[in-house]
Assembly symmetry: C2
Amino acid sequence: MRVTIVGCGAVGSLFAANLAQLDDVEVWAFDLDREHVAAINEHGLRLSGAGEIVGKLSATTDAAELPPSDFGIVATKCMHTAAAIEATAGAFANGSVCSVQNGVGNEEALAQHVERVIRGTTFPAGRVVEPGHVQWDVKGDTTIGPFEPSPAPTADVEQLADACTRGGMPTQAVADARGPQWRKLIFNAATNPIGALTGLTHGRVVEDAGLRRLVSQLVDEGKAVAAAQGIELDADPEELIDHAARPDVAYDHKASMLQDVEARRPTEIDYLNGGIARFGREQSVPTPMNDAVTALIKGLEASWRQ
Amino acid sequence: MRVTIVGCGAVGSLFAANLAQLDDVEVWAFDLDREHVAAINEHGLRLSGAGEIVGKLSATTDAAELPPSDFGIVATKCMHTAAAIEATAGAFANGSVCSVQNGVGNEEALAQHVERVIRGTTFPAGRVVEPGHVQWDVKGDTTIGPFEPSPAPTADVEQLADACTRGGMPTQAVADARGPQWRKLIFNAATNPIGALTGLTHGRVVEDAGLRRLVSQLVDEGKAVAAAQGIELDADPEELIDHAARPDVAYDHKASMLQDVEARRPTEIDYLNGGIARFGREQSVPTPMNDAVTALIKGLEASWRQ
């Protein structure tokens, strides 16, 4: 089978390099970073940290070069999903395409261009340290399931989960992948923008009583929007939030959105709090705190253009 | 009559220099900035901009040097009110003391140390450009009235208003000064922290639909807390907000709290949104947005100590 990774940044690279360990999987990667693509083609894709491997794969910046694939794994930042799948959809005319991105709304964007879509949520994390080389910071599980309005066949979901697991990325195929996705979404939406607006690490947000109250208000709104859609969370995001604040877990972690803000990069706010608010409006569930936080982060982004 | 200005920064200096124009008023100033105090004593206190005057007055950094005064005008930042009045209260054993500060809660702090308190709200603004020299940016009105739980006599309120007006600072004595104070409070609380959190000028906050909605939510909470106390606003803060956003008024103005944040100075959040929330709790009026904004600004201040 052939798998094409769309967006070969940190998370895409973890899937690409691990899948490339398998004899029965041919891996391609599409990415717009010319140096990263050239390095991958020349020396392979190297992971270090939580795992030390090199994956042999074919990378390209030109979507027209992609051969037909059985599977796509989309791992771009949320705001690039539409453009990325529009460019690469031709390679998935007979394939199933899975999002392993943050936030909500990505599968909807994929379904505009491909027929068989897989909803996915992944916890492993890393960062690109140099072209062709990714630091693997955290191992973790991935959960995938058919995207309800435009589903991939169950057999495809299971085949992809099996390949990822055998390659080194433990992945579970489920009938309804919305629970894990919304748990991660609610966790991220309740903590990322608070870190980004205050400059505080995860642990310092959680130990501040006023901010912890705001975090819970964001969580409660997210839970209400999930419940209105009939989504059953697989665990309480509140527990995840307190667990991550432990000194031995992620007390000193700067939320990715804080890192974006410090580097003045566009954030994923539209797919986190903005996504919860959008689904809330569809379900007539009010989300005033998520709306407020979305407006503040978008205002902050706008100030960089002032 | 003798008037002592407590806190001779920008606003305090406007009162000090203008009152010093009057033959029948002797002006003293208490301030902790040694260079400013020395310059005032040597060359007088100079205002330029909206008015060009030099006021002759006696300034000191030592509260024990202050002679007994008929009036005090307190113009420190809100977080310094308690310490400033504790130090200077002896000079006002037979005098009336008026706050012309931002926010709410200052009169309550004054009443802990002096008997006759005047509630005041002032709109003139400026900035200290160098020791002994203040730029007078904006002329404007002042409204004063007895502080209800610990009131100065009406005759005192009227005498102080008359002196300020004759000196060049138009001041109205009223029976209930809470309306103008809460209008300014609500205006500041609805706009200052939004500018501070996003980095946007007043006009850009107002023209952003998402932020404008948040501003109105903050205004609505403030109005509800004012109404619960029986306070009648003298004008709608919403009008003031839209008016100030005009290009010929204050479109490009950076809120003072944004200036504080950029300089990493403590903000007055506890006396603005925090004050609305505190009075809201007393009145059992919920203020979730003011609570959230207070927590975010205090979190931002905490990040500087990280």
